[in-house]
């Protein structure tokens, strides 16, 4: 069966915006929906690799060797414990790719090129990115067809959204990106009982001044359950809080309705 690959980057240029949380849980939701999913850990902090319970040995290929062209794509892809879910892992060594990318001249194009061979085997490639506006981030934007931006429902999160949109536009201007923004996901949206806190409401309203209202997707609520789900390697459903999975289900619907992926 031949598949159409869609490359989606999760990007937000500040720390703690929910990128890795989103990629981990969304990857599981997509895999459970029957898509063959390739997750890429684009952050030298390698939290995604850890969250998926994957350990990389020092002599095993990672995203670094794939970037440098030292190994074939499939040598850097590992199955995870979850059906349909695969991973290109990272470790601290990925930090060294920065110099390689800035020296190569085609840094922005490189990841796209390296992932091209996933066409035909995977439906979706979901990339976790580092918080810095770095060479890796440039290459992630260059590789993406769709970009999802999680942003904390705070002033800092709003700032991250602005920085992220700027970075995308900058690469678009020079033709190094043709990515579409799939949506913005407010992260750690705080409610007290049935009332949204003023801070969350104001921050999300500010986000809607930077992108169209329709781009603001259902938020990820502030809750310790997400940390638990991740540390126990469970889904929100398995943890008994399926309602918290609403933003992921909605995004899946959006992907299917936009025909980004075949339903």
């Amino acid at each position: 069966m031949s598949r159409e690959l869609t490359v989606i980057a999760c990007l937000s240029l500040a720390g703690g915006q929910g990128k890795t949380t989103f990629v981990t849980l969304m990857g599981k939701v997509l895999a459970a929906a029957g898509y063959t999913v390739l997750l890429v850990d684009g952050d030298p902090q390698s939290n995604l690799t850890t969250f998926l319970g994957h350990e990389v040995a020092a002599d095993e290929p990672t995203l670094l060797e794939l970037f440098k062209g030292n190994v074939e794509l499939e040598d850097a892809i590992y199955p995870t414990k979850i059906k349909n879910l695969y991973l290109i892992p990272s470790d601290d060594g990925l930090d060294n790719v920065q110099e390689y990318l800035s020296g190569s001249g085609v840094g922005a194009m490189l990841l796209k090129k390296r992932l091209a061979a996933a066409q035909g085997s995977f439906d979706i490639c979901l990339i976790d990115s580092p918080p810095q506006r770095s060479q890796i981030c440039k290459s992630v934007i260059g590789a993406a067809e769709q970009i999802i931006i999680p942003c904390e429902a705070t002033v800092k999160g709003f700032g991250s959204l602005v920085r992220t949109i700027d970075a995308i536009n900058e690469l678009k201007e020079v033709g190094a990106s043709s990515a579409e923004i799939l949506g913005v996901i407010p992260f750690r949206d705080k409610w007290v009982g049935s009332n949204q806190t003023k801070e969350s409401r104001d921050a999300i309203a500010a986000m809607a001044t930077v992108v169209e209202q329709a781009m603001i997707l259902p938020s990820i609520r502030e809750s310790e359950k997400f940390k638990q789900a991740i540390s126990r390697e469970q889904t929100l459903e398995e943890l008994g809080v399926p309602e918290l999975g609403y933003p992921f289900e909605m995004l899946l619907k959006r992907l299917e309705s936009k025909e980004v992926v075949a339903a």
Partner: protein, 134 residues
């Protein structure tokens, strides 16, 4: 299942072995290099040199001659975006390398311009000869 997925599933023993540097001290971590720390002037120079080394080197100055009718709009365009004609050219080359169809259109247009310039050069030489012979 695709053949690739099948191979990935059976791969564990056949992956190539690699070696990777995860230390902080070998090579310059860009994050560290960017950290605003107080350094002695020799350290500062070394750190700046290291940063410079990580940035792409450029060739010595070359003259770029642009068709007069295009020069103004091209310059304005670059000024508006805070870039130079050179960096625009570099980026266009990179961007079009990923779009073979666009790149071949560009090459066709460039070849047409090349012909025009050759033609103009030839005519200028003939004119010069006519003038000296006259």
């Amino acid at each position: 299942m695709s053949e690739m997925l099948d191979r990935i599933g059976r791969r564990s023993s056949q992956r190539p072995k690699v070696s990777r540097d995860t230390s902080l001290t070998n090579g310059q971590s860009t994050e560290l290099a960017a950290a605003p720390t107080r350094l002695s002037s020799t350290d500062a120079a070394a750190s700046i040199e290291a940063k410079l080394a990580a940035l792409p080197e450029v060739t010595s100055r070359r003259s770029v001659r642009i068709e007069k009718s295009l020069f103004e709009s091209l310059s304005t365009f670059c000024q508006q975006h805070g870039i130079t004609i050179e960096t625009f050219l570099e980026a266009s080359y990179i961007a079009s390398s990923a779009e073979p169809e666009l790149q071949s259109q560009i090459v066709i247009e460039a070849q047409r311009r090349m012909e025009e310039r050759k033609q103009a050069g030839k005519l200028r030489r003939i004119l010069a000869q006519l003038n000296t012979n006259a």
